[in-house]
Amino acid sequence: MPEKKIKNIFINGPILSSFIADSIQKHHTKTDIGGHSIFLGQVRADKINNKTIRAIEYTANETMALEKMYLIREEIFSKYELICMHVYHSLGNINVGEICLFVFTSSVHRKAAIEACNETVEKVKSLLPLWGKEIFDDESHQWKVNI
């Protein structure tokens, strides 16, 4: 049985555009890739009852999230002809306008990358044990709900 390789997906704090650029840059040597699909989740300054969200504080059941992400990755690779796939999610305080989720898929032909990216985003949001605490500008808070 091959070793089960659990990859870390967590980044403390926001996902920086320079980090995204580095990830893209690393794929220039993979000359069998024809298309990359990227999804970025950004924290919104939603207004609720005259209060505005200023940040989301993310926590996770890290062990379970990484185990589940391993299974999602296996499923996505078995379903789509992917060359590679990278997923990163922030932990801790992420201010509005900052990026908290980065899903990056690559394939020979674009269709696989695009569909795999979309499906992975849905699975990350619904299946990973992660929680977002939405902090308002007056320091009160509410808990994020994924619809």
Partner: protein, 77 residues
């Protein structure tokens, strides 16, 4: 026999702490009973339960030093 309990997300606002230890519990149902006694607010909360990182749906026997996680609906991304 000792069981570790870990609380996540908005449930920690009810329990105030994140980590607990319970003794003399044989299965998840009896553990939940004890947890509800200590934190009645959890009875109306929505959550799933994992034993040693595996989600469970039914009453499950517990062994010494098992970790039980109480997790409200996920809201990542």
């Amino acid at each position: 026999m000792k069981v570790n309990v870990e609380i996540f997300g908005q449930l920690t606002e009810i329990t105030k702490n994140k980590y607990f230890e319970f003794t003399s519990v044989n299965d998840t149902d009896s553990l939940l009973q004890k947890i509800y006694e200590q934190f009645p607010g959890l009875q109306s909360a929505s959550f799933v339960i994992a034993v040693n990182n595996n989600l469970i749906k039914h009453n499950t026997l517990l062994q010494d030093n098992n970790t039980v996680a109480l997790m409200p609906p996920y809201s990542g991304g």
